[in-house]
Amino acid sequence: MSRVTQRRPGLVADLTVMSRGWRWTRRSLPPRSAEPHHTFPEPREFPTEWARSRPARVVREVALRGGLAPLVRRETTVEVDGLDIFDDLEGPVILVANHTSHLDTALLLTTLPVKWQRKVTVGAAADYFFDAWWRAIGSALLFATFPIERHGTGLSDTPATLIEQGWSIVMFPEGTRSPDGWTRRFRPGAAALARTHGIPIVPVAIAGSYAAMPRGRNWPKPGRPPVHVRYGRPVRPLPEENTLALNGRVSDALAALLDEDTTDWYAAARRAASEETPTSAGPEVANWRRVWASTAGPAVRGAKARAWR
């Protein structure tokens, strides 16, 4: 009998196994049964001042205007409304948007007026975007992100410092992307910051990004799916108003914007006045129906009737 001569897999085979196993092109996930035993890495300070320096801003502007914006417009059908609110607005502000997709940050940064885009920075989950140096550098350079500790307690000093330096901040107060396309509870961090610094919050409703590129996809669906970005009137903190009340007003304003996206400004305004704005948290029905409704996406406005059927 002969001895076993087991063929050792080559380097390429090893690399293939590892790249698939650890999802090199995507984020690796703990197995479901390991989730209760999973611990998030210790928070690490990742410096991002360099990403707000002049050379980095130049690189970012070229990348956004010359690369990302055309790409977003090639892969999706973007419609933007409400940009006129920036005409008589002075920064810094906090831009608060609903969050259903990785497309959201790209949509915001590529639809903001250039003057605002140059002076905006994005709060990003420290455990997600800053867990590896290469990911941290990439997101800080391209999206002007700074880390937010979403599993810790208390608010980081960084956003306050940025506001004091005149930077506007994009925040997604739900803390993570929606699993079903509907809005989740707003955390009060953005409202607390606005109150402390006496600056307005600009609600931004993004519709269709869940249908275009939901969780689990790293590229939009083919067929240039429609996405709508609607900027709302600034919500300013009132004297004597507490953080929770302000947070509630921002949440309501965003719900009204989403309502406006499916109806029109006046109808939405009337419903808001009579407190009949549909909740942005979606209907209380079976989960599949919530997902089903979200995956339909918004209608493409102004689409012409087909001449030939």
Binding site: M1, R3, V4, Q6, W22, P30, P31, S33, A132
Partner: protein, 525 residues
């Protein structure tokens, strides 16, 4: 915070899992639904080990403090575990050195002149001077070697003492020096629940005449398992012998427990859960594996054998043997117990490069079988992880390779005994005496560095419970000739092994992978 061990269910998110296979390791994708038993993370080590040693010696359990037991003119013997513990060897200074130095300091302070230190090798090979020095440290070695510090010799008839018989007619025959001392201090390293207790003295310092009563197929089959001392025939026998021993000599037992830091930090990926591997861990795995693949066998073995574990000491306890050992077991359980619901049809293991009997040596096929079927199979409390009639799949190259220096009788055992029968119950009565009394093996055991002639039989007896319980044993990547000689089957790949297992457990068996090392003691409900 230390995370406990747990049972993972493989899903589509699970990356390929690390499997040890001798002097290498591999990544293996397991079928969806496979259960994987992960060990607990390392418990924190004691911040001040020397203080803990002093505390144990001065406040022992059910005994006077050590200084009170020492006096000028007494005969003091200190015995300690040999190089088979811990695995891998621990980073220096070895905890035995620290304890020996403290004990000897107390003896010096009390004016004890007659001190001897014995390496409790039983029928293991004699350790070399360098190996002894690596355990006891420079000071102790320089002061006592070779006349007052030496390896135990189980064939030195003049220096053995027969202390009587147990109530089950078992001979108790141990080192005369130890038996006739005013105080016998034993220094133990407790890696797994099998170690320690009366096993230290009643087995570590015993002759073949004593060992044969429990190192046999019958005892092993009825030790379920020998990692659960309260349900182990082996331990029951050792405890009976220990009680006879305690009628003749006072034993002061010092036991230590270790955490799960079994590999140096650069090989951190070996103990990390795979989905938590960073890019650095992945690169280290790939680099190490590719390096090992192209490395000459000799260099590869040297690299592994030189590895020293940064074990933390989780406890030091001293005093009367039995209460000390209960405390030790508690600590071992705290580190190693993992609860598992139900048995499995197929149990999968990856065997590492090291077992207690190939330190600085070769892991021959018998030792590989002993590691898988003897030690790792028995790492349970309650019921075995695999059901009766189930299949055990082991990953190891099982090289047909023997060290003629360390394992001379293994060569003949493999060629002659296993060629005739692989049934431990058959080979014992027929061949054991012949190997146990062979003058050439005895000569090599006493003068060279060979394991005793009967030792391969003991290794095969360790497998007896598994061989009796299992329906089939399949080796992945093993030398076909060597595996066939042991009466088992070999497969080129894990997929082939599962295919072979179908004959025994059907086409959709439950599969469990025991992700060790570090050690896991499964509590199977």
């Amino acid at each position: 915070m230390t995370r406990p061990g747990f049972v993972l269910t493989v899903d589509e998110r699970t990356p390929p899992l690390l499997l040890h296979s001798g002097e290498s390791f591999r990544l293996q994708q397991f079928p969806l639904g496979t259960r994987v038993i992960y060990p607990a993370e390392s418990l924190p080590g004691l911040p001040d080990v020397d203080q803990a040693i002093d505390q144990a010696l001065l406040h022992p359990i059910d005994s006077d403090p050590l200084p009170a037991l020492l006096r000028a003119g007494m005969k003091l013997t200190i015995a300690f575990d040999d190089l088979s513990l811990p695995l891998p060897q621990m980073r220096k200074p070895d905890v035995r050195q620290r304890i020996l130095e403290r004990v000897l300091q107390y003896a010096a302070d009390a004016g004890v002149d007659d001190v001897e230190l014995i390496v409790a090798t039983a029928l293991h090979r004699r350790m070399t001077a360098d190996e002894v020095k690596s355990i006891v440290g420079e000071r102790v070695f320089r002061s006592f070697w070779p006349d007052q510090l030496y390896n135990f010799d189980a064939e030195d008839r003049v220096n053995l003492a027969h202390l009587g018989k147990t109530d089950r007619d078992e001979d108790v025959e141990i080192s005369k020096r130890a038996a006739e001392s005013d105080l016998l201090v034993y220094v133990n390293v407790n890696l797994v629940a099998m170690d320690g207790g009366w096993k230290s003295t009643a087995i570590g310092l015993a002759s073949y005449n004593s060992l044969r009563h429990h190192h046999n197929a019958h005892t092993m089959i009825h030790s379920r398992s020998f990692m659960d001392p309260h349900k182990s025939e082996l331990h029951s026998s050792a405890w009976r012998m220990g009680r006879v021993l305690s009628e003749h000599v006072k034993v002061f037992q010092i036991e230590t427990t270790l955490n799960n830091d079994a590999f140096p930090s650069q090989y951190g990926f070996l103990t990390k859960r795979e989905w938590e591997w960073s890019l650095r861990d992945q690169a280290m795995f790939l680099g190490t594996k590719r390096g090992l693949d192209v490395m000459p066998a000799k260099s590869r073995r040297k690299l592994f054998q030189q590895m020293e574990a940064p074990y933390g000491i989780t406890g030091v306890t001293a005093g009367a043997v039995e209460p000390v050992h209960e405390k030790t077991l508690e600590r071992v359980h705290q580190q190693q117990l993992v609860e598992v619901n139900g048995q499995t049809d197929v149990l999968v293991m990856g065997l590492p490069y090291l077992c207690p009997y190939n330190v600085n040596s070769v892991m021959n096929p018998i030792l590989a079988a002993c590691l898988g079927l003897g030690y790792l199979f028995n790492m349970y409390r309650g019921k075995p992880l695999v059901r009766e009639g189930g299949v055990l799949i082991l990953h190891h190259p099982v090289p047909w390779e023997f060290s003629t220096l360390h394992h001379p009788s293994y060569v003949d055992f493999f060629d002659e005994v296993l060629a005739e029968s692989t049934d431990p119950k058959v080979i014992g009565p027929k061949f054991e005496q012949q190997y146990a009394s062979d003058p050439w093996y005895t000569h090599l055991y006493r003068t060279s560095h060979a394991y005793h002639g009967v030792h391969p039989f003991y290794m095969w007896y360790w497998c007896a419970h598994a061989l009796d319980h299992l329906g089939q044993v399949i080796w992945v990547g093993g030398d076909r000739r060597a595996v066939a000689r042991m009466g088992m089957r070999s497969a080129s790949t894990f997929a082939d092994a599962l295919e072979l297992a179908r004959d025994t457990v059907g086409s959709s068996p439950s599969i469990t992978y025991q992700h060790a090392p570090p050690h896991i003691l499964s509590v199977v409900r």
